[in-house]
């Protein structure tokens, strides 16, 4: 039985780490622009699909990865410059629709450029499961976890230590003030999109050996990642990771002990509960938007 529980926890952590990586992307953009980018899942897809097709074309994995991350970043920059920037002063709904339009567009392009089939990558360090407390864990999951943590550390350093990072934080808290003290807000937003797109791509590459990838893999991942980000507190890096892990563990525990059919419902109910009773999220500093 305890082995069973251990397995549920490990499975939860595996899924959770995936959600966490996607959630981080949401948080970065939200931090800088207070925009929820519904195309975040598509960055994940681009990362995975590009890597797959490039390795398929014979490129070595590392090269393919770098190219994929680069491509995603470019798409992110383009999205900000061409779609979000022009509508920055528009109401939340408009921005939501723009990013959703972008996600549909990107998905459509992916289906044209590549195909509508499922693809996968070989796990980076073999598929021999690691035995922990009578439970099996894929080495790939460790990769996902490790990289998420590394990214969180890197981000906290970036936002806490570097000038640009501080500028981005300032922009998120006090757009006007930031402008007054000479921060180039537009540039910050641009960078935030590029950054989170690249991050999404990294996620897409890392998780492909586990979840497989396809032209429309972004939909569900985007939704769950979003939920995780909200759960942990929009805009908080550690919150995103925690939110992801909580969501993942909640899912696998409810799949194990309650009902696998309703595990997603349970995940979203959890999210609603957090929204109702702690709108700022588990680790969210700022409270829900004010009057």
């Amino acid at each position: 039985m305890s082995g069973q529980l251990a397995q549920y926890l490990l499975s939860g952590i595996t899924i959770g780490a995936i959600y966490a990586l996607v959630a981080l992307g949401f948080s970065i953009i939200f931090n800088a622009s207070h925009v929820i980018n519904f195309a975040q899942g598509e960055f994940v897809m681009i990362g995975g699909m590009t890597t797959v097709s490039l390795t398929g074309a014979g490129l070595p994995l590392p090269v393919a990865m770098i190219a994929a991350v680069g491509l995603a970043a470019l798409v992110g920059l383009a999205l900000e410059k061409l779609a979000v920037e022009p509508a920055r002063r528009a109401p939340v709904v408009t921005l939501i629709i723009i990013t959703i339009g972008a996600s549909i567009l990107l998905r459509g392009l992916a289906a044209l450029v590549w195909d509508k089939k499922l693809h996968t990558l070989a796990p980076f360090s073999g598929s021999a499961p690691i035995e922990i407390a009578g439970a099996a864990l894929l080495p790939q999951s460790l990769w996902v976890l490790g990289v998420s943590l590394a990214i969180v550390l890197a981000l906290s350093w970036f936002f806490g230590r570097t000038l640009l990072g501080k500028a981005m934080l300032a922009t998120s808290n006090q757009g006007v003030a930031a402008q007054l003290v000479g921060i180039n807000v537009r540039r910050v937003l641009l960078i935030s999109f590029g950054l989170s797109a690249a991050l999404g791509a990294v996620a897409g590459i890392l998780i492909t050996p586990i979840t497989l990838t396809s032209w429309d893999v972004g939909i569900m991942l985007g939704l769950k990642g979003f939920a995780a980000a909200v759960l942990g507190g929009l805009g908080s890096g550690p919150g995103a990771v925690l939110g992801g892990l909580v969501l993942g563990v909640a899912e696998s525990l409810s799949a194990g002990y309650l009902s696998s059919a309703y595990k997603d419902v349970i995940a979203f109910v959890l999210m609603l509960a957090v929204l109702f009773f702690r709108p700022a999220g588990i680790l969210g500093g700022r409270a829900a938007e004010r009057v």
Binding site: A287, A288, R290, V291
Partner: protein
């Protein structure tokens, strides 16, 4: 127009009363156990250097903040901890330091919103627009228009709020507040950002309101305006009552002079800053108001 002659008489009974009213933000007391009473039909001014807690006090008196301690009474009714709309329904109306005009409506509609308290109708009535409602709406429109003329906004009757100049918007807020037929009207820096001519206009308006028996509570930086119109002045400093009395008494009070000389500059530039914030009205909603409960 609400002529409440009944309240204009018998200043013995106080209209609004607070007992040990306090509000702290993270340990800092913005308003510190404040007790005072406002008698009806007068112009009651609250002054004090910047950060003295004037706006906080106003937010307490309109239910936007829930007090951390003390009580608020409107005549005998205890309004402590009530929601802003309950204060409004009890007869407390206010304007805002940085404009809170409904920019998605015409000026007239803004004033009509003020009459919500009286015009509100059942959902069915609203959906079916019964003849009764249509009639009520017509009178509502006409009376709102009349009120606007009275406030001196005749030329803006059909204008969209977003198209109106700052000075007119300041008056529009007052009109909207009056439209609720308040028993007490709270004005938060009505002169902030106005030129001297407009300021004189506001002064005259306040005088006119008082003469019509309205109870006006005025929070204002501009001493000339305050001293000109006030029957009674309350001086705050660091959230505490520093002095209270007629304009004359207060002006002569050494503590007041001391406190003011100390921060004369502050009060000046604060008027300036109020201008800028007023200029970007609408967008600055977040800065005044905390979350409603």
């Amino acid at each position: 127009m609400g002529r409440r002659v009944a309240h204009a008489e018998g200043p013995a009974v106080s209209l609004l009363r607070t007992e040990g009213l306090s509000k702290e933000f993270g340990g800092v007391c913005a308003v510190d156990s404040l007790s005072f009473a406002i008698s009806p039909g007068r112009v009651y001014s609250i002054i004090g250097p910047n950060g003295a807690g004037k706006t906080t006090l106003l937010n307490l008196l309109t239910g936007i903040y829930a007090p951390s301690g003390g009580r608020i009474f409107l005549e005998d009714a205890d309004l402590t901890g009530r929601a802003p709309h309950e204060f409004a329904q009890a007869g407390v109306a206010r304007t805002f330091q940085n404009l809170q005009v409904f920019f998605n409506m015409t000026a007239l509609e803004n004033v009509m919103v003020g009459r919500y308290r009286r015009e509100r109708c059942s959902l069915a009535t609203a959906l079916l627009r019964t003849p009764a409602l249509a009639r009520a709406e017509r009178t509502c429109r006409e009376e709102a228009a009349e009120l606007m003329r009275f406030i001196g906004l005749a030329e803006w009757l059909d204008a969209r709020a977003e198209a109106m100049p700052y000075g007119a918007l300041k008056r529009l807020e007052i009109a909207r507040a009056l439209a609720t037929q308040p028993r007490m009207l709270l004005l938060d820096e009505p002169a902030a950002g106005l030129n001297s001519a407009e300021m004189r206009g506001i002064g005259e308006l306040i005088g006119l309101l008082a003469s019509r028996g309205h109870t006006v509570v005025l929070v204002e930086h501009n001493m000339r305006l305050v001293m000109g119109v006030s029957d009674h002045v309350l001086v705050l400093d660091y959230g505490r009552k520093l002095a209270e009395g007629t304009a004359e008494e207060v002006r002569r009070d050494p503590r007041v002079i001391e406190a003011y000389l100390g921060s004369a500059l502050a009060s000046d530039c604060s008027v300036g800053s109020a201008t800028t914030s007023g200029g970007s009205a609408g967008g600055t909603a977040g800065s005044v108001a905390p979350t409603l409960h």
